[in-house]
Symmetry: C2
Subunit: 631 residues, 2 copies
C-alpha cells in the first residue's frame, strides 16, 4: 500500500493527502487547487509551472521534458511542471499567479429568437373517480382510462417510478391530477392539481470550454435563468485532443470525464433553479448540444475512434434517454434529448446552430461560422447546405500558450481590445473586467494577464495596418520602436502592455511565432470557407453569420482585415451570439425542431477538407494577410 | 446518539453491536441470526420465544402481550418474545431449537409442459463493413443499416449502454456481430460472432414463502437449472398481511422489502448461472409472476392500498422495465416482464397458472386450485372463466403456529404423511428428509419438529375416518386412548408423535383448535369453489387441477375426505406442480403467451366473495366435514 503523504499548496494554504508517485497536478486536482493545464498533463504546454518549496528530494528529479520547457536555470531554482513532477514525500508547492486557473468570463446569454411552443413534455389535467369495492380497478388503469376519455390519449407507456408513486399521490391529491406526458407517449409525472408546479426544461450547450444552461418554461417559452460555468473537463486538457488522449490512455478516463461534466450540469441546474425560485425536480426535459467529442463524453460513449482515422463516431442520430441514466439529478422521469451529430467533426452543436439560423428557409446564401475551439462552417440556403470543420486549433480562443505566448481564455485580465496609432505606434488596450482603455487608467490598476482571442486578432489587424507586420506575416525589418523587441538584431516581438501595466511584472507581447499561429488558424478557417464556396459554385456568400461567444466579441473589421473571412461587405457580417444554445432551446420548446435537427443532420453535405485536392493550395494562399480592407 | 451495545446469541455464538431500544428480533435480523417470526414482529404468533441469559435489567420489562402469550411462569423464568423485548445494555440471548428458522425444503421443479419458441429476445448475425475516410458513418448507424439490409429490421431503438459499448466491441469483433434484439424493437446487446454466448432468460415465481427461478435457454427452451430459496421477506412476516403491515408502518419498509427480495433473486441467478456454467450476463430477459402483494413488493410499488378496502392495486397491466432499474445484476440490457394481475387478490401468479393450464382452450370445465399462502381458484373453459381468491390463511401451509399449534413450513423434520389404524388408533408418520415411516425407525432418529400443511390434512382425514373427530369437527367424547389428551375431562388433543420421536422433547399433537383452523381454511376454499360453480351454472367441475407445490404434495384422497374439494371423482383430480412457474417460463419463451396473459387478465371474471349473498351460507355449510368418500 502507498503510504500517505501531505501536500501543501501556497499561497492558498490548501493541504491534504497525496499518494507517492502521484503528480503534483493530480494531487492539486484532488484537492480542488486550480492549476492551468492546457495540454492535459502531457508536459507540452508548459502552463502548469509551480515552485517546489521543500527539499529537492521530496519530488522526482526533473526530466528532459521539463528542462526543455523551462530551461536549466529555472529548474535548478526549483521551478517545475506540476504534470511531470511526482511526489515522493511531504511537500510544499507554490503556485505562481500565472499558473492559477481563473474562472472564465462566460458570455453566453440566451438569444432573442423565438419558436412556436410545442414541447415534448405537456401537462394534462384529469379528474378520476376513486375506487370502490364494486369497481376497484388499479390506479394506473384508472389514470389511463381518464386520459383516454378526457384527452383522447391512447397506448400510453408508464414509467416504473410513476407507477411506484401513483397510489400515494393520487389519494393525497384527492384524485385531481396534473399529468405530465412525454411525446404523447409516456407518462413521466403526476402531480396534485391543487399544488401546481412549473413545467421546466433545460437547454444545454456543452462547449469544450464553457457550459451554458438555459432554464426554460416549457409552457411559455420564457428563459427564466441562464447559468454558465467552465466545462470542468478543462482540468484534463483545454482542447478536445488532450481529453480524447486522456480517455484513450486511462482506463477510467471516460467515466471520469463524464462524471465531471454531469456533476457540473447538476450544479448549473441547481443554481438555476435556486435563482428562479423553483425546484430541480421541476425540470422534466433536457436538450443537449455539443460538438462530437463533448457529445460523446457527456453520454459516456467510447471516444477512442474519434481521435484516429477514419474518425467514426459512435452514433449519429438523436438519442432519447432518461436523464437519470446519465446521473442528472432532476425530476426522476426527466428525459434527455441529445441532438444528432453530422459527419466528421461537425457535431450536434452545429446542428443546433443550423436549426437556430435556418439557412434552409432562406434564398440568400449564408456562411455560418461557429468558432469555438474548432471552427465549424456551414454554407448554403434552401437549395443545399454544405458543412465542414477546420482544425483552427485553440489560437482564436487564445487559450493555448503553446500557440500564443501570452494567450489566455477570455477571463478577467485578458486583453480583448487593441488599438494602435499607425504613426506613433502608441497602443491602447482594454482588459476584460474594466470599461476604460488602458491609457485612461493608472498603469498599476490595469493588471493585464494575457491576451484572449479577440485581442490577438485586433492586435494583428492593427499591426498590419501600421506596417509592423507585412502581408506575408513577417515583421517589418525596417521598423524601429521601443515596442519592437529584437532578437539577433531582427524584430521578433511587439510590446502590447508594459510590465507596469500587467500582473506578471513583464511585458505582454505579440511575437512572430504568435502571428504564425494566428495565420495557421485563420488560414484553416478561410480555406475551409473558400472550399465550401467553390463546392457550392459561388464566389462569395450573401451574408456571413458569426456564431458562438467568440463570434460575438470579435471585431468584424479586424477579422476582415486579417483575411480570416471571405471577402464580404462588413454590413453583411453579423454576430448572432450563442446560436448553438438557441438551437438547443428551440429543440426543447418545439418537437418539430427536433425533427428538423434530424433532417439537418442527414441533409447537410459534409465536405472533407483533408481529402479535397484544392485545400492545400487554398490553405497556403490564405496564410497571407489579404490586402487591407478596413471599414 | 444511542450508545453501542453488544448482543450475543447462543448457541450459535454470533455476536455484534445493537442499539439501545432495538428489539432482540431486529438485532437478530441485522446479525443474520434466524428467528421464526410468523406475524412479522407484532407479538401475536408467539413463535419468536427466546431466553434472556443476562440480568433482567439488560432488557425491557415484559409487557402484557408477552405475559399473555407465554404465561407468567415462563416470563419469570426468563423466556421472552424477541419481537417485544427491547435491548437496554449488553445482553446474552439463547434461541431455543423451536424458535430457529430452518430452510424450507423447496419443491418447485420446472414442469414438463412445452411451448413454441418465440422469445422476446432474439439473436441476429450481421457483418458490417468497417468505416473508411470516405465512408465514416457512425458505428450505430452502420449497425442499424446492416440489420435493415440483412434482416429487414427497421426503426430499432438503441439502449444507451449499447451505444456506449458498441465502438470498442465492433472493432474487437472484427465487425462480425451477434445482435440481441428485444421484441424486434430495441437492440440490447452486441457480441462477437467469434465468441458465442448462450441466450438465456430467467422465469421467476415470486411466492410469499418461496422463490423459484428457472434458468432457461431462449433458443432451445431447455431449463438449464432450477434454483429456489425462501423468500427472505419472511423475516418481516410469514404472510402477506404481516408484510403489508410492515410497509404501512415503516417509512423505509417498502424499499427494505424490495431490496431483500431483489437481492435474493440476484443470488438465485448467480447460483443458477454457476451451476449451469454460464455467466449472469448471459441472462437477457426475465419474466416474473407473483401474487399481487409479491408483485408490488418486487417492483417497489406502493402496497398501502392493498391492505385496506377497496383494495385497489397500483397497476393491472403487464409492466416492461429494465431489469437493472430494479437492481437486478444480469446483462446491463436485460429486460424484465412482470405478468399482469387480475382483479382483487388474484394476482400475476394466477395469470401464469392459467396460461400454463389453458382452460380457455378446453371444452371440459376445469377447476384450478392454486394453494399457496392464499387460495386462488379459477373455474371455466373456452366459454368463460371465473376466478376468486379465498383467505384460506396460512393453515394449509402450516406455517402459522398461531393457527396450528405445531404447524411449520414444509422443512426438514416436518410431519408430512400420517396414517392411522382405525381400530387401534396406532399412528405412523413420515417426516420430510426421511424415506421411511416412523414405525420403521428408531424413535431417537426421527426428530419430528412439527406438522406441515399436507400432514395436517392427512391427520384430519385419518382422525375423521377413525371417528376421533366427528363431522362437526368436535372430538368424539366417547373416545378413550393414550393418544387422546383430556382437558377438564374432555378430549382436546390427539398425539401424533411421542416426545421421544421429536426434536422438541414433548408430544406433537393435533388439537381441537387446530382442527377448527383447518375447518376455517378448507371451508373458505370449498365455499369459494361452490360459489364459482353456481356462478358458472354447473353442479361440479369436469376436472380439478391442483397447482402449486402444496398441491403436488397433498393427498387428493385426504383432501376429498375432509371436504376441501368439491365432490369429484378422485380419478379426475390431478396435481400439476408449480403451474405459476410454468406459466412464467412459457411467457419467457413465447411472446404470444404474453399477449395471452394480458387477454387472460382482462377476460377472467373476478367474483368477489365478500359481497356474494350466498357466500356466508356456503362457508358455514363447508365448515362441516363432508360425508366420507374415500378412494
Amino acid at each position: 500500500m502507498a503510504s500517505e503523504i501531505m501536500i501543501i499548496f501556497q499561497p492558498s494554504g490548501r493541504r491534504g493527502p497525496a499518494r507517492a508517485g502521484q503528480t503534483v497536478l493530480e494531487a492539486a486536482r484532488n484537492l480542488g487547487v486550480e492549476i492551468e493545464s492546457a495540454c492535459g498533463g502531457k508536459g507540452s504546454c508548459g502552463k502548469c509551472r509551480v515552485r517546489i518549496e521543500s527539499d529537492g528530494d521530496s519530488v522526482s528529479d526533473p526530466g528532459e521534458l521539463e528542462v526543455r520547457a523551462l530551461g536549466r536555470e529555472e529548474v535548478t531554482a526549483g521551478t517545475r511542471l506540476a504534470c511531470q513532477t511526482r511526489i515522493i514525500r511531504d511537500v510544499r508547492v507554490f503556485v505562481p499567479e500565472e499558473s492559477r486557473r481563473v474562472a472564465q468570463v462566460v458570455r453566453k446569454e440566451a438569444g432573442t429568437g423565438t419558436v412556436a411552443i410545442d414541447p415534448a413534455v405537456k401537462l394534462h389535467r384529469v379528474k378520476l373517480t376513486p375506487p370502490t369495492l364494486a369497481e376497484a380497478t388499479a390506479d394506473a388503469e384508472r389514470l389511463l382510462r381518464a386520459l383516454e376519455r378526457e384527452h383522447g390519449l391512447r397506448g400510453l407507456e408508464l414509467d416504473l417510478q410513476l407507477v411506484q408513486r401513483l397510489p400515494g399521490l393520487a389519494r393525497a391529491a384527492g384524485w385531481e391530477l396534473g399529468v405530465c406526458i412525454w411525446r404523447d407517449r409516456k407518462i413521466i409525472d403526476v402531480r396534485p392539481v391543487s399544488e401546481p408546479r412549473p413545467l421546466l426544461g433545460l437547454a444545454l450547450d456543452v462547449g469544450t470550454t464553457t457550459l451554458a444552461a438555459y432554464l426554460t418554461d416549457l409552457e411559455t417559452g420564457e428563459v427564466l435563468v441562464t447559468e454558465s460555468a467552465m466545462n470542468p473537463q478543462v482540468a484534463f486538457g483545454d482542447d478536445v485532443i488532450a481529453r480524447l488522449h486522456h480517455v484513450a490512455h486511462d482506463p477510467g478516463g471516460l467515466a471520469e470525464l463524464q462524471k465531471t461534466v454531469i456533476s457540473e450540469v447538476n450544479n448549473l441546474g441547481a443554481r438555476a433553479a435556486e435563482r428562479a425560485g423553483v425546484r430541480t425536480t421541476d425540470i422534466l426535459d433536457v436538450v443537449m448540444a455539443g460538438n462530437t467529442a463533448m457529445h460523446h463524453l457527456f453520454l459516456g460513449l467510447d471516444t477512442r475512434n474519434l481521435g484516429i482515422a477514419p474518425f467514426a463516431p459512435a452514433v449519429h442520430r438523436a438519442l432519447d434517454v432518461r436523464a437519470s441514466d446519465l446521473g442528472l439529478n432532476f425530476h426522476p422521469g426527466c428525459r434527455l434529448f441529445a441532438l444528432p451529430i453530422e459527419a466528421g467533426f461537425v457535431g450536434a452543436d452545429n446542428v443546433a446552430v443550423i436549426i437556430a439560423e435556418e439557412p434552409y428557409r432562406q434564398d440568400e446564401i449564408q456562411l455560418i461560422i461557429d468558432i469555438g475551439t474548432n471552427g465549424e462552417l456551414v454554407l448554403g440556403n434552401r437549395q443545399r447546405m454544405l458543412s465542414t470543420s477546420c482544425a483552427t486549433g485553440p489560437a482564436f480562443e487564445g487559450i493555448s500558450p503553446s500557440h500564443i505566448e501570452f494567450g489566455m481564455r477570455a477571463a478577467t485580465g485578458a486583453i480583448e481590445r487593441v488599438r494602435m496609432d499607425p504613426e506613433t505606434l502608441e497602443v491602447r488596450f482594454k482588459v476584460i473586467g474594466a470599461d476604460k482603455w488602458s491609457i485612461d487608467r493608472p498603469p498599476a490598476d490595469i493588471g493585464a494577464r494575457g491576451i484572449c482571442g479577440s485581442g490577438i486578432i485586433e492586435a494583428a489587424a492593427e499591426m498590419l495596418k501600421a506596417g509592423i507586420i507585412l502581408p506575408t506575416g513577417n515583421m517589418n525589418p525596417e521598423m524601429q520602436h521601443e515596442r519592437v523587441v529584437l532578437e539577433n538584431g531582427k524584430p521578433r516581438k511587439f510590446v502590447i502592455a508594459w510590465p507596469e501595466e500587467t500582473a506578471l511584472n513583464r511585458s505582454i507581447t505579440v511575437s512572430l511565432k504568435d502571428i504564425r499561429a494566428l495565420q495557421l488558424a485563420k488560414a484553416a478557417l478561410r480555406a475551409g470557407a473558400e472550399i465550401l464556396l467553390r463546392a457550392y459554385g459561388v464566389e462569395k456568400p450573401d451574408r456571413v453569420i458569426l456564431a458562438g461567444a467568440f463570434g460575438t466579441y470579435i471585431d468584424k473589421h479586424a477579422a476582415l482585415a486579417i483575411g480570416m473571412l471571405p471577402d464580404t461587405d462588413p454590413e453583411r457580417v453579423e454576430s448572432v451570439g450563442n446560436a448553438a444554445g438557441d438551437g438547443a432551446r428551440f429543440a426543447l420548446l418545439n418537437l418539430e425542431k427536433r425533427r428538423e435537427a434530424s433532417w439537418v443532420a442527414d441533409t447537410v453535405e459534409y465536405v472533407e477538407l483533408a481529402t479535397d485536392p484544392d485545400f492545400q493550395r487554398e490553405y497556403v494562399e490564405a496564410m497571407y494577410f489579404a490586402p487591407v480592407q478596413l471599414g
